[in-house]
Symmetry: D2
């Protein structure tokens, strides 16, 4: 209710700030008997680490996860799975320059308005570092989904306005930028380098797909699968739009074009993105997130101090040039958490 | 948890199908002392009625609301507000043609997969008629928001690919198509007529804005204001994408362009759509929903029966040609319900 | 969250006051395919009606239930089940005597403190009449439980300090006072008549038992089955204590006496009340509620007005002399709602 | 929803087993600006440690708490407060004797029925050790309550059938057995010693009171303050009954006796336990929990193995002879968590 718990039955509760002792969370509701260990979670955390492409910061974080409960002899016990990732890279810095300044595009102003207290050492709870807990929790969800034959992947569809062809979506996890084709990587590297040299930053689009999802997942009316997915992805900082299937294009289409004919052996197309009336149709689930450029830019910007005066700010340092590709495993994690939750909800409502 | 309750503190629980005795709901958590009566709710319901423009069905529904509890001497008492709208237009029809056929783009197939039972007289719970309860509940939320100086409006930004200029957003409630300018109305009427004559249907984009929202609304991390709004709008049937502020365009922008500079007297632009780090910034909240074309088309389509065979279907009758404009008051209602809930959540967490 | 919704998956949301148009509710999460009609709900409502014994008021309420949604051709469809019971007996009365007086033992003072608004025509939401919605919702839960072989009964164990022998718990539903033996009825009638003639009121103890509950229901740590049952029963007005199994006696027992030995063919005793570690054990669930005397007495009492002055009050009229027996179907309903919810929760967490 | 989260706005989510790496939790929803540090939490944890009286085990646990997030410069920041207590005393033991045996009065059988997996090294999630997280979370709630003038204490009212006089309830925190009078301590020590020498165990009654609670806390209908408190206390292992105010005695009282007259300067008595109609009345909140004898006894008992055969068991070792007094800080913690949550709920619903 205060925003740190995701889901209703398969839940993830997270805690932690960028400059505190550590980040972690509690997964509650994971069924017993799921194969699970620290290596499985670590693999996902490593995908979110800096240095996964030239768009990333040079900040070193080893981000080792420790499972604190809920796993016994390599399997989940059905009890809550607590985990912890200690913060390591907390060099003492001089915060005097930024502690009173509201960085444009950041949450400094709004957190101050809400809490009247601000951890000026970093974004605190609004920092992208918070997503460590999402990725770890999502890995647990992924283990559960794998046990019932559901797979999820996330890949970069567009970066800096350059769109990829989706030739190999399931191989994207092992490619730079989590690209869905080989050829695009060099183009994106050039684009990133050019923008970086200008002190600016880039946005893009990430597509998340899931296969093996049975028909009937989702709860009418307010907890439709697409509503839940939209909330899940939009809850990730930097996401400004979420599309399902044909998405925004559907608004400019005709009914006769946008409808997916149903043939005896399945759907003839997938403009619905695998969701009809808020319930999964058995097709591949397709959802996209539009990611804004990182607001920390090296160019000078006008902004306001906590005291109300105007000032100029230039944010240097170890910052990423784009949330992509590091946001990909985060968005994948959110989709996995959503599907795990909806699957458990369905188990007790469906006809069987 | 089973999808018929929206919100966490200011909640709306709905019930009802298109062909049953009626639709209704329960608003719980509305503070005591809010001015409220049936006329206020009726006004919003009337906005969602057929005949608000040429895009609408000729079906006649008087949709009279009755308040059943929670209001005494013209004010809310703090106890749950029950309401009921009886279905009137239930002419007996011959359902034999559609009772075994999965209409493309509809939820027939997915509901059957989920429940194994299907109310073949209409869309049942997946019918657009379900939104009667949303609009009534939203009107109560609107009364509460008005009492604290928050106003919400929704207007059609685009219909059939033809985009309006937003000259008069706050006057849109009284214009055909809920249009934000006068001139566009004739253009849209022509477009609708042309598509209708071809037996086809149209989509469009609705923009919802809110003014007077104080800074600090929203709960990090998972219950960000934008995440909640995305879920609220996406939960409405026919919505395939949700954008906040610059939305999809942010993905193709640069940080230096997309950031909103903060001047001494306020923000210089509003690409953020009034939300930073998931919390309201005090600016106008701006959110858009992409609405797909109505799937019930008069053209012949290929589909499947419940028994598995292929068949052709042509859906005639009293159907709308576009969910717009009737979806506008629904989307406005969802935004109002979201803001009312987040406002009450904030009341107990903020610094005051 | 604002108190009008019970349960997490199988939920009941209620509305309505004693002197408004009616009372009702929404059951969400009931699986599809459960046999259900108005007669089934009416039967339980009739059990809660006045005139079920000499302890009851003479007030006439026909309390006819109407199902508004969620049932098609005699079976639940999986969508929310809305229902409505109209208030009929609203004779216009002179409220001037009580509208400013806080009746002792009633919620007048506390509702005024909370809401600052008071429906002075009756207890409003704190009236016992609110339980109409609980009983109707509980009947739906009972239909679901019956479909999986679970039965629940409630009987009066003690009235005015006179304890019954539990000779026939499952026949109690058809006996005056919902008595678990024939002989006690005359004794209780005498006790009630004597107290009534003195203008005073009585309390008692109700026992609720459930058979057919499979082992493993309940969620550690905070949603233990006994914690949920305690909350369910204590949420009924007039209940001041809840016991599980040996209950209060356990506090004065020894471990060697209170433990239930486990033999090859089952438990040797049931001091645990069918719950171990918060999970059902497969034994009969046994829970008791202590019910206070009805606070509306014909004797003169000292109390305070809303303005702060002391005054004397004597409450005459059509009031019951004891909440028993009319509270029995209410407590049974709450137990059934709890078990239905825990059963659905278990379905998706257990090993199967 | 899966039982490891308590509360709705001020929430505590816990994790951890008796024999895993550690226990911990996340407090979400604590307002910003509350004075808070590890010492404050540690003080409560120390009260629950073994050796607080002769009834306790000799097991050594230092139980040092580490705050992982949500506190900055000695005050809460409004973000989730994560904490961790590492398990230290995990000597390797021979579990072969108990790993297949269902201990009477324990949750071994029911956990096995639910999960089909059992951490045979100890009670796992059903172990009393789980309450470490409750006490730590409760301490945070207590800090918040103290900031608004609410104080809570818990004391032993009865042990082994010997009842104390409540001479000094607020001094009980510093007395052996958390006794509310000095004289009773020696009597209880003798009773405990006698029962221990017989290899048996004892139960008792703990009373929890709160002062400074404003009128109006609680949510009608299902989230009454007494319903929430009942659930909170009953969720603690070993509790078999919960009473509010006059509790069970109310069932044997008359209306004229049990009603609390309201005088101009306050209530004349407190049979209601400070709660009317489910809302706080401004009086002291009074609630009691009946605690069963610890089921681990040194005497021989008959029980069943997982394979179905009968066997005899005798449980020796480092076990407590009574859950009292170590359960006292746990019950106090649960009451504090409940009050903190209800207070935040009230903040946004009341008239102010």
């Amino acid at each position: 209710m205060s925003g740190s718990t995701f889901g209703s039955i398969f839940t993830l509760t997270t805690f932690g700030e960028s400059h505190g002792p550590g980040l972690g969370g509690v997964v509650d509701g994971c069924p017993a008997g799921i194969a699970l260990d620290e290596a499985l979670i670590q693999r996902e955390l490593d995908r979110r680490k800096p240095g996964q492409g030239v768009a990333s910061t040079a900040r070193k974080e080893s981000d080792r996860v420790e499972i604190l409960s809920g796993v016994f002899e390599g399997r989940s016990t059905g009890t809550p799975i607590g985990f912890l990732v200690r913060n390591e890279d907390q060099r003492s810095r001089d915060y005097s320059k930024i502690m009173d300044v509201y960085r444009p595009g950041h949450a400094d102003l709004t957190y101050d308005a809400k809490y009247g207290v601000r951890d000026y050492r970093g974004g605190g709870r609004s920092s992208g570092r918070e997503t460590v807990s999402r990725v770890a929790g999502g890995a647990v969800a992924g283990a559960f989904l794998a046990s019932v034959g559901i797979e999820v992947t996330a890949y970069t569809l567009e970066l800096g306005g350059i769109r990829a062809q989706v030739n190999d979506p399931w191989g994207a996890q092992d490619r730079p930028f989590f690209a869905p084709q080989d050829e695009i990587v060099a183009e994106w590297e050039q684009r990133v380098a050019a923008v970086k040299s200008e002190g600016d930053t880039l946005g893009g689009i990430v597509e998340v797909i899931a296969r093996g999802v049975p028909a009937g997942l989702g709860e009418p009316v307010f907890d439709k699968l697409d509503a839940r997915l939209a909330s899940a992805l939009m809850s990730v900082g930097a996401v400004k739009a979420v599309e399902i299937g044909s998405g925004l294009d559907a608004a400019r289409s005709l009914g006769s074009v946008n409808n997916d004919p149903i043939l005896a052996d399945g759907f003839a197309s997938n403009n619905a993105g695998g969701i009809l009336g808020g319930l999964s149709s058995g097709q591949e689930i397709v959802v996209r997130a539009a990611v804004k450029p990182i607001p920390s830019i090296a160019k000078e910007q006008t902004t306001r101090t906590a005291q109300g005066g105007e000032t100029a700010i230039r944010i240097g340092g170890r910052h990423d040039i784009a949330a992509i590709p590091r946001i990909n495993p985060v968005l994948k994690a959110m989709a996995m958490l959503t599907l795990a939750d909806m699957l458990l909800l369905q188990r007790r409502m469906g006809r069987s």
